[in-house]
Symmetry: D2
Subunit: 383 residues, 4 copies
């Protein structure tokens, strides 16, 4: 067995949702173990969270600077191989910057940072260090998203003409903020979540999904952002028209006020020779309408899928995999890349398949441009 990688987590303590998902995703394949952390924004909660997770006392820190300082002091045989940053958005930048500058490999949740300047700085820092930096656009880890990507980029749809991506949730259809819902509190608070609400939280997933699958670059966009729940200070409903380089058109909708919708992210891509549709809530299915035959329903695990989808699959077809497996696939890519760099080799790109800091930076730009467009009376805002 290859050595388990050691990782620290910043954020993700008691009451956080996504931190536990990161940990479960890493536990699934057993290739990494949590050895250190600064798990919450107050020393008390941080330490209590670490105790719950079984961290040794000397690696259970009150804040992330202590964690960083401590790790730098440790010998290579116990130092972490990477850090996972799963804090609220406004903390991403300083932590990520500090760990990158210190030479650590980093995984950071999305949206990466709040401003384009921060994103550019981070991209530059990663480039300078030559380290691994993964961004957990976890939906890109689904096998059938990778299958879609390979089909579109491999030309099976011909030339892409239209991209429609919807991300509908209903959990913010009423004013949960201020009623004890921790998620709702920080996500609707511009100080912690950024100026963007739905467009930042789920719109950035929608952008990443479209970009991952099609590889198309947005040339200009036209956004309508609404704060439809009275009293809310960030957007909870976003609708965009998109124009892509090369002539394709697009529509992107991200809304958290669709009462009753759970996590309805769906993508449709149509080209001269076919159409693909994928829905996150039935992630193991990919619909493919070729122009010369009936709808084909591709399913995870089938022998006719491409290599990317095959490698992203753990169970036989018909044995449902889900969200955690997709997350684990992103991590698997990161870990493979870290191991390769540690070994001085270059990872097989099919294995080192994960969103990079540049994808995160593009997502930040997308949010910024969307906010610009929403504030503009001109139809089109250039990228």
């Amino acid at each position: 067995m290859t050595r388990r990688l050691r990782y620290a987590m910043v954020g993700g303590g008691q009451g956080a949702f996504i931190g536990a998902v990161h940990r479960k995703a890493l536990a699934l394949d057993g290739e990494a173990e949590l050895v250190a952390g600064a798990l919450a924004s107050t020393p008390e909660r941080a330490r209590a969270s670490g105790r719950e997770l079984g961290l040794a006392d000397d690696r259970n820190h009150a804040d992330w600077p202590s964690l960083l300082e401590d790790e730098l002091r440790r010998n290579a045989d116990e130092r972490i191989d990477f850090v996972s940053i799963v804090t609220p958005n406004h903390v991403h930048f300083p932590v990520a910057q500090a760990f990158v500058d210190a030479g650590f490999h980093v995984v950071c949740d999305k949206p990466l940072v709040h401003t384009r300047a921060q994103a550019d700085a981070l991209v530059a820092a990663v480039k300078k260090q030559g380290t691994v930096f993964g961004v957990t656009y976890n939906y890109s880890g689904y096998p059938m998203v990778r299958q879609a990507r390979d089909m579109v980029r491999g030309g099976e749809l011909g030339s892409v003409r239209k991209v429609v991506v919807h991300y509908h949730q209903g959990w913010l259809a009423s004013a949960l903020e201020g009623r004890g819902n921790k998620q709702a509190d920080w996500r609707t608070d511009p100080a912690r979540s950024g100026a963007a609400g739905a467009i930042g939280d789920i719109g950035s997933h929608a952008e990443n999904l479209a970009a991952t699958v099609t590889g198309l670059e947005i040339e200009s966009l036209c956004a309508d952002l609404g704060s439809l729940v009275p009293g809310r200070s960030v957007d909870d409903d976003a609708s965009l028209l998109l124009r892509f380089a090369g002539g394709a058109r697009g529509v992107l909708v991200a809304s958290q006020i669709h009462t009753g919708q759970e996590n309805d992210l769906r993508l449709t891509v149509t080209g001269t020779r076919g159409t693909l549709e994928w829905r996150q809530e039935q992630p193991s299915t990919l619909l493919h309408w070729p122009d010369d035959g009936p709808l084909r329903v591709l399913t995870r695990g089938a022998p006719w899928l491409g290599a990317s989808a095959q490698r992203a699959s753990r169970l036989p077809a018909g044995h449902p995999e889900g969200f955690i497996e997709a997350f684990a696939n992103v991590y698997r890519g990161v870990l493979t890349d870290i191991r390769a760099r540690q070994a001085g080799t270059v990872a097989d790109p099919l294995d080192a398949d994960y969103p990079r800091v540049e994808d995160g930076a593009r997502g930040v730009r997308f949010i910024e441009r969307t906010l610009d467009s929403a504030a503009s009376t001109a139809k089109w805002t250039a990228w």
Copy 2:
């Protein structure tokens, strides 16, 4: 048995698709019979078409003015009760105007006419004559669309916040025009179809569906129209952002280049208390997510539906009804209204349930405003 109403048809002869649908829809309930016609744009084809349909020679006309003249000459006991106009779009206006002015009840296909001026003229003429004028926005005839309408307007969704309507077809994904496809020929020819392509043909259905169900008025819109198939002179892909009076937002997509899609019209309406979704390709199902319980799948024929949906149903639940029945429901409304006026009474609104000339006029305005917006660099074009 009540007397069968007599009708004439203008257009809809050999090779036409929609004329046959009108006739089958009327035949289904056996409440009207075709007795006269001017069925095509050349005398030869018109007469041949009439012979095929069993029209008597003296009522099988070479052109619509002859038909009109002949009908005006006939006694009340053989004169038509109404005329159905199912020609290509550019012919709608003169025929409709002439028959309305002559005092006939009229059914006209959509989009009603080419310009707002024509639409206004027609609305005025109908008002002046006091006649029945139905527009075959046939999708409004589906029982579950009526159920959706009654639920939304009855407040079951609370206050509407977002309307998303998509109409995706794939049949014009390649350049069929000029290759012997009669439909493709006239629909992509601005002289016959109007300046609007997809937005006129199917976008107007999408607009009508959204308006029928929600009753919301568009306040401003922002359109991106594309002619994505090389060489095409009308739009084949349309994406719009909508703002409704009262604050709701909307997205409308109408596209005929979605390879592999058949007739995928779907509407989602979300409000403060629930969400509805309807898809034309599974028309007997209406999805309802209330905010306080699980998704409810309403089906045609169930005892818990409202009166509108009940009256629009012919068969027990589970016995699929389709497109022709929806069409027949529009006609049933028209016929009921004609009979009531002939009897000097007022029809029960639940029975006289059909799109009126005003709905047709609103659709014309929608197309015009969409074309205006598409040509504008301003984000919003006022209604």
Copy 3:
């Protein structure tokens, strides 16, 4: 235009469900007109029903013998071309026998008759007369059922190994009989419906569907019939194991106590090279799992369907057709055959595509054998 055929109807008067469906199915294509009838079991209701349907007084009969006598008296140019028998089951035999013996073409609802002896007599009479005799196993008229049939019989599934057919309804889950539900009354009354309940009403449809699609002959069967609603004197739940000639196995379930189910008839056929699944409630879709590729979703109207399915389609793909169209397809086959015989020609088998008296007789035998098996302690009852 070819002459409309003239038909009479026996049964199907006021309050009947299926008579109206027959009439609408015939009206849809406009190739036949109702000219005579004996529409109910009492003279008063019969005459009132005929008046409602616009029958001339002299062709609106109090009972079927009067109808038959009258038709035989009439000249060829006004005599009916065929009779439709849509009475409760126990009346089928005498009416059918009398009209066949008198040389008329006949359409009869299913199940054909009550006993195998009656069925054999009818088959013999039809053979002797050389007349057309259609049985309205209407589900066989769906385009995608015909597509399934042609695929299975054309070998696309390889050798068939297993046939599973379910027909679930919920309308008899409570004791509706005796509470004013006319349908429930006669269908649960052995005197009118036959000794068989669910197995006769819907089980016979299931048998016909399986036989139509696969062409396999049942060699032996094992039935469990239950009357699960207290007080009911016929079966309302039937489950069967089937063995077919050639080695394939089968399961057939017909039940009317599945609370909440509308009309859920579904068929799965699996062979060495593929599997097909069809569901009546989504009749325009046929699922096909080939053994060497992903699930294909075949839809009505697509260009890659075979000739049988193509000819059974009236509207473009994506424009839902339903139950009435399927019914109309059965009638279209009958009418084509009648016209051919009247012309002294032989109809194209692709057009004269309808269930024959032999199919009806096989259905009667199926019911009889099922009742035998249900009463037996032996596992297998031979066909």
Copy 4:
């Protein structure tokens, strides 16, 4: 953090499918760690497998007797808390018996053992020892299966009348055995898999699912088993009629020759007041047709689910969970029970929710009775 439990695994080495699933399921929640094993049937493969999984040399055994002997020698603070048995079926009995007799808690894969005598012996041994014995009928771990169970047993369907359970797979539709497919080899070999083929492998899951959800006891059954792939010596297709104590009827189909089907286990339960349907391939959805309203689509994670389903859920609604989570739920129940017994307390039944040795024994009896029935010419074989 509570101490991680220590476990050993017997079987599940290189090339095995289900062993890895057990390990991932246990890793997901991080409450147990693999510390010892005898992972394959030959010493070489066993040791190689253990090395791959990072077992210490002195706990990586060549065979299970060595493992057992070694564990008995170890102090309580390093001895395993339980053993997982994931060998081919024929090895279950001796291993399980030995570990139970030695006082260990055990988890064993299904079907439990080959004969009723073995099953009875094991039940008796577990009772005598008072140890925990879980059987990984993993489908019972899905949240929506638990929801279904609680609804049925809580009376929401009224009195159950009919149970239909299908388990369709296609992977054995061709003769994979003897072509290097390890799974196919042992599963079609009576010496290793038992006299039962499909009925043992997947039929036992179907039986368990029906029993778990309904609690009904089979009173008699009627089975048709086929070996439809030429040359196969165990059944690959099973169809059964069931009669339950209390009068309900049932149909159970388990088949591995349904070409193209992946893992299509589905259950329908209908009662006097409603119907439920669950499908393994969309495990987070439960369909509920009440008799007094429309179909309700219950989804995992929704606030209106019962406590059992809530506790079996790890992620918010709309974030797909799958097979591994269901597996992990079974283990979570086992671990909770072990911890409770170690603490001398009694676990909350809502937490100690897992299939017991008695469920495994019932499954063995089901297989035995099915084989008896298949060999019998009598219709019904008593339980």
